[in-house]
């Protein structure tokens, strides 16, 4: 499992080396393109900023009120059987509906337990391996004008569940 740690360290430098190497070989105007793309990135962040402010406020209210602690203690007996930390249950459930609301809860976990704690690492892995189920389905099927979705939801739930179980196992193995 040491391999996965090395892979993590090499990932970004390798991607940069590869892209810039190819760019040089194909005589692309590297720096001009980088700046152009970086501007795009600014727009993306500015777009999500208001959403993020709204959701971080909502999550901070939940945390400060003590509601999150009550909730995770209520479900603790059940999650203990499954060997899943009860603190992450709200996040996994919310993630099915809204990616930005889940981000709010993720940041709350980082704040409470630290990004390098077991919970912080696990939650990072879970969120990198799952997508919003209901939001994605609504957007795609409404745009195509499809009313009967057949087995899509079942498949999406299977994939998400596999992702969460896989995240728990791999996080325990690697760290």
């Amino acid at each position: 499992m040491r391999f996965l740690i090395y892979l993590s360290d090499y990932m970004i430098p390798f991607v940069f080396f590869y892209i810039i190497g190819l760019g040089l070989l194909s005589k692309t105007n590297l720096y001009e393109e980088f700046v152009k793309g970086a501007k795009e990135g600014f727009k993306v962040v500015l777009d999500i900023m208001p959403t993020l402010i709204g959701l971080m406020i909502a999550v901070s209210v939940l945390r400060a009120s003590g509601a999150l602690v009550i909730l995770s203690e209520l479900i603790k007996p059940l999650t203990d059987i499954l060997h899943f930390p009860s603190e992450l249950v709200p996040l996994v459930l919310v993630k099915m509906f809204s990616s930005s609301a889940a981000t709010g809860l993720l940041l709350d976990i980082f704040k409470e337990y630290g990004p390098d704690s077991y919970l912080g690492r696990l939650v990072s892995v879970i969120l990198s391996s799952t997508e919003t189920i209901f939001y994605t389905m609504a957007v795609y099927f409404v745009a195509a004008g499809v009313k009967k979705m057949r087995y899509t939801l079942a498949g999406a739930l299977v994939a998400t569940l596999a992702g969460v179980v896989g995240s728990v196992i791999i996080t325990k193995l690697v760290f």
Partner: protein, 197 residues
């Protein structure tokens, strides 16, 4: 959806806060968290710009296009009902590549175009075709190799090595996508037997 979720989070928070006597903490939390969100976005501006800048170079030197081409056999395996050379193959490939590279906002428009074409292939039916189900399941199973957002969040909250979770994230992503692909393949076989397409 988000309206209710957001509204209830705040209402429940305030009610519980009053019951538990944590109302002053809530007051402080609203002010601090809105400030914090902005600080976070400033970190994200840097990391996101770095990533989209790199991806722009990848696009310009033809790397993205050659990935899209290399993906064709995979697409043919996952979507056996789509005629070869049909434009929808390209839409699906662009959607997947954008997802893999972490350009989610670029993936959605491509995915929607693919859905519209798939509907035409499905004789404008209001019932989803197997191809549509597969496309959705794969999109939801997540394909992203490097989660740039999560790197930004981890670094903002003081991680010693924000990138250390990348390897584990790739394995977990692979597991969820594999589960989605296996499920879609089995479900397709079953519905072919029942006469759906």
């Amino acid at each position: 959806m988000l309206s209710y979720l957001w509204g209830f989070m705040i209402i429940i928070g305030i009610v519980v806060g009053v019951l538990k006597g944590n109302i002053a903490e809530i007051s402080n939390a609203t002010i601090n968290s809105s400030k914090e969100a902005v600080a976070l976005c400033i970190t994200m501006l840097g990391i996101m710009a770095m990533w989209t800048g790199m991806m722009q170079i990848a696009k310009k030197c033809g790397l993205v296009a050659s990935f899209t081409k290399a993906l064709q056999p995979v697409i043919h395996f996952l979507f056996p009902d789509i005629p070869k050379g049909h434009i929808v193959n390209e839409y699906i490939a662009s959607n997947m590549i954008a997802n893999i590279l972490g350009l989610g906002w670029a993936a959605t428009p491509m995915g929607l175009m693919a859905m519209k074409e798939l509907k035409k292939l499905n004789h404008d039916s209001e019932v989803a075709s197997c191809d549509m189900c597969t496309l959705l399941i794969i999109n939801i199973s997540s394909l992203q190799l490097i989660s740039v957002n999560i790197l930004a969040y981890r670094s903002q909250y003081g991680s010693v090595n924000p990138a250390e979770i990348l390897g584990a994230g790739i394995v977990a992503t692979f597991v969820s996508t594999l589960a989605g692909v296996i499920f879609s393949t089995i479900a397709r076989k079953r519905s072919n037997k029942q006469g759906y397409r």
